[in-house]
Amino acid sequence: MLWFHLLSLQFQQKFYLRYLEQSRYGHLLKHCWDESFDTKNIKPSMRCDDVEFLVADLEMSSLDSREGEILSVGWVVIKNGKIQLSSAEHHLLKAKKTVGQSAVIHNLRDCELQQGKNIMFVVDRFLALAAGKVLVFHHSPLDMAYLNKASIELFSSPMLLPVVDTLEIEKQKVLRHKDQVEHGELRLAECRSRYNLPAYPAHNALMDALSAAELLLAQLDYKGRDVRLRDLF
């Protein structure tokens, strides 16, 4: 139901447009909407090889977007069915609060985060790349909650961009064979090992983004040469 997804996003965009236009940097998001909803760039019937994806991952200080903040972002671009390592980027963000116990997981310490970049800079860079591409996350609700929160703070509007979730694709695949998903079965590393993908060090935003990107390529390959964008939703 990709067309419906896109349509509903466009409806919401219409609602938020007036807030966006009042916001100082709103044009950045507006440009991204224009590109991503242009059927030259994205339409449901496109072959996935022809679609450009921006695969991203965020490290946060909490699993709850109301209390946590983004600590780092990493992403890579998939173009012509290949991950372009030249597009790989990793950014640390300047944290407002201490990262506390979460440092154990993502290995980012307060002292490093003090050197981090301004959220505006990173979101600007992100939107410039996201324009005309489909966003990809492994378990997108969490990452999108943070991105939308940042977007609302900056532009008074959520991002409202098309998003593919590799975890969701994997879940559909597993549920086709059995009734329920087992605990841990959809974790990134678990999914990857089912496709004979190598083990990577986890919990670094860029390596996780690359891991998710490779997983997406594997999933696409398994769906066959002729897989269309709409088949991912």
Partner: protein
């Protein structure tokens, strides 16, 4: 490159030939990489000829030409460039045999690396066999003792005609300050005269100095080839007590070498050891000399002596010990009642010994032997075999020793034994007797040995059942390579996770080459000599012969270097290595060497066991 991509950087810098690139360049390489995923069964063929270097990050692939010809199996870390392969051999395709993640370095940056970094480029300039060859041919600075004589010999040749008087000859020699002179008719060598000959054969005997020089010359002197090593020449001189040797090639004298030339060339050389051995008067003293060998081995390996040279030297040492023991026995027991030949078999016979070799010997006695002589030979055998054991050449576990009555026989009995082997060549029996075909005289009458060997070869050449049984033995040990080109290691025991280089690599090659040599009736026993003779008689192509030589060289060298390391660590030298401990480039060479062994086995199967499975 983002530092977060270190995992990819690390992976690539471990891969051949990226390991040859400087770190700063690797960062750019990582940024140029494109990652793609392909499920099992996908093919890269013509449509993918846009080029670029593909590195298998995970999974496995096969390179095939046409439908059937398998060129290579690629596993994690291996790379291929289809465009390049297709230039060499059109129609090469890569098929994934496992789901694979592929890193592609696009054609432009790939070509740029090749043009800028020679070491990187060399890896791709050709295919598998040539890769091994380069490894084998890459010899470090040659050791002094292994320099060819052509490096040292004097190529100014002083000669006289046979009719020249002694006086005139002596005048010519002192004029040119030469200690020897050749007697020649045109370009043909007739004899040699040295300072000493003039002294002892002319002056001391009051011979008229107007006599022709032919009266005092040594006729038909022994000669050497210019390719002989300093080691060979020194040994040759000390064993025969001569000091001047003409160097001949293609029936032409090209130079002359003297003992003093050789003195200049040697430093800490094994020749001293051989000489030293021949001066010892008790087994205890011999033992002391031999005990220094492990340390010397380490020194020689570090000095860059290659495996085939070193095994040659080690064999010369064990020969010297054997000879000295026989001489000591004769001093004690009196001279031999009838001529005999002390035979060395197996690695000693082939001149391929390394440290830790056991004894494989026998006595071949003249048919003039009478029953009462048996005791003399039995005592000789006991004396020598005990002495060898004492010196560290342990008793043969299979009792292939002269002390075994069955192996201490006159020629006619040996001939009967050979006939018996040939009559019922079961696979097992053939395996047991195969080392007897690597036969060499260590001491005594070489004519006896030649008689026996001639008879052996007469049988082997024509007995196809015997050859088929040998072939079965050759095929029974598969090279330790699993599917996906991973090493197959020992599963348990003292050497779990290790690889027996001797059993799995060296012995199979030796067996294959012995089989070919016996089938063609060749007298050579050294594996390299056999390989060269097989090319000569057109039984092997030059390419196959070289490939096998190189594979053998790689295996032997690895084994040797490893033994030297074990000695340094105070361990007993073994034939095992742990493949996980090898550098990528050595592991690659080893895989290629095993690949060549496998090909050679296929050849044996087709030739000697057609239709026998």
């Amino acid at each position: 490159m983002s530092p977060e991509l270190a995992a990819i950087h690390d992976f690539l810098s471990e891969c051949l030939p990226f390991d040859q690139l400087p770190n700063s360049v690797m960062e750019q390489v990582v940024s140029d990489i494109e990652v793609s995923y392909h499920s099992k069964g996908s093919q890269f063929g013509k449509q993918d000829l846009e080029g670029g270097l593909r590195v298998v990050r995970s999974g496995a692939a096969e390179l095939r030409c046409g439908k059937d010809l398998l060129l290579d199996r690629l596993a994690e870390g291996d790379s291929f460039n289809l465009m390049g392969l297709n230039v060499e051999q059109p129609g090469v395709k890569a098929t994934l045999i496992e789901d694979a993640l592929i890193y592609t370095l696009p054609e432009i940056p790939y070509q740029k690396l090749r043009s800028e970094y020679r070491a990187f480029d060399r890896f791709f300039s050709s295919q598998r066999s040539r890769r091994v060859r380069r490894a084998a041919r890459h010899e470090p600075v040659p050791n002094d003792m292994m320099r060819p004589l052509s490096d040292l010999m004097s190529s100014v040749i002083l000669s006289v005609e046979p009719s020249t008087t002694i006086q005139k000859t002596a005048a010519l020699m002192s004029e040119s300050r030469f200690s020897s002179i050749l007697v020649m008719i045109d370009e043909g060598l007739v004899g040699i005269v040295t300072d000493r000959d003039i002294r002892s054969r002319a002056v001391a005997k009051g011979l008229s100095l107007d006599e022709p020089v032919t009266e005092i010359m040594t006729p038909d002197p022994l000669t050497l080839l210019p390719s002989c090593s300093v080691f060979d020449a020194t040994l040759f001189m000390t064993q025969r007590g001569i000091h001047h040797i003409p160097i001949m090639e293609d029936k032409k004298v090209t130079g002359i070498i003297t003992a003093s030339d050789l003195m200049l060339a040697r430093k800490d050389d094994p020749v001293f050891l051989v000489q030293h051995i021949s001066r010892q008067t008790t087994i205890q003293e011999l033992k002391k000399v031999v005990a220094a060998m492990p340390d010397l081995l380490v020194q020689w390996v570090n000095a860059g002596i290659r495996s085939h040279q070193l095994s040659h030297v080690l064999t010369a040492l064990s020969d010297a010990v054997t000879v000295r023991l026989i001489e000591l026995a004769i001093e004690e027991m009196g001279p031999a009642p009838v001529p005999f030949s002390w035979l060395g078999f197996g690695s000693q016979g082939r001149k391929e010994q390394l440290l830790g070799a056991d004894q494989d010997n026998a006595l071949l006695i003249s048919d003039d032997m009478k029953p009462e002589h048996e005791q003399w030979f039995s005592q000789l055998a006991t004396y020598v075999c005990d002495g060898l054991n004492e010196c560290g050449y342990v008793y043969c576990p299979g009792d292939i020793m002269a002390t075994n009555e069955k192996l201490r026989q006159p020629l006619r009995e040996w001939l009967k034994t050979v006939e018996r082997w040939m009559r019922s060549p079961t696979d097992r029996a053939v395996m047991e007797v195969s080392i007897f075909f690597d036969i060499r005289t260590i001491y005594g009458d070489n004519g006896l040995t030649k008689n026996l060997q001639t008879e052996m070869l007469k049988h082997t050449k024509t007995n196809s059942i015997f050859l088929a049984a040998l072939a079965q033995n050759v095929l029974s040990t598969a090279p330790p390579m699993g599917i996906f080109r991973r090493f197959v290691v020992e599963q348990n025991g003292e050497h779990a996770h290790e690889l027996n280089l001797k059993k799995r690599g060296v012995i199979p090659i030796i067996d294959i080459i012995r089989l070919h040599a016996l089938a063609h009736g060749l007298f050579e026993v050294n594996t390299i000599d056999r390989l060269e003779a097989l090319v000569e008689c057109k039984a092997l192509t030059i390419v196959d012969s070289r490939n096998i030589q190189d594979a053998l060289q790689v295996l032997m060298q690895l084994r040797l270097v490893h033994q030297a390391e074990e000695i340094v660590k105070g361990q007993k030298p073994s034939n095992y290595v742990n493949p996980a401990s090898l550098s990528k480039i050595v592991a690659k060479q080893l895989k290629d060497a095993f690949g060549i062994v496998k090909d050679a086995q296929q050849g044996v199967k087709l030739k000697y066991r057609p239709g026998l499975g």
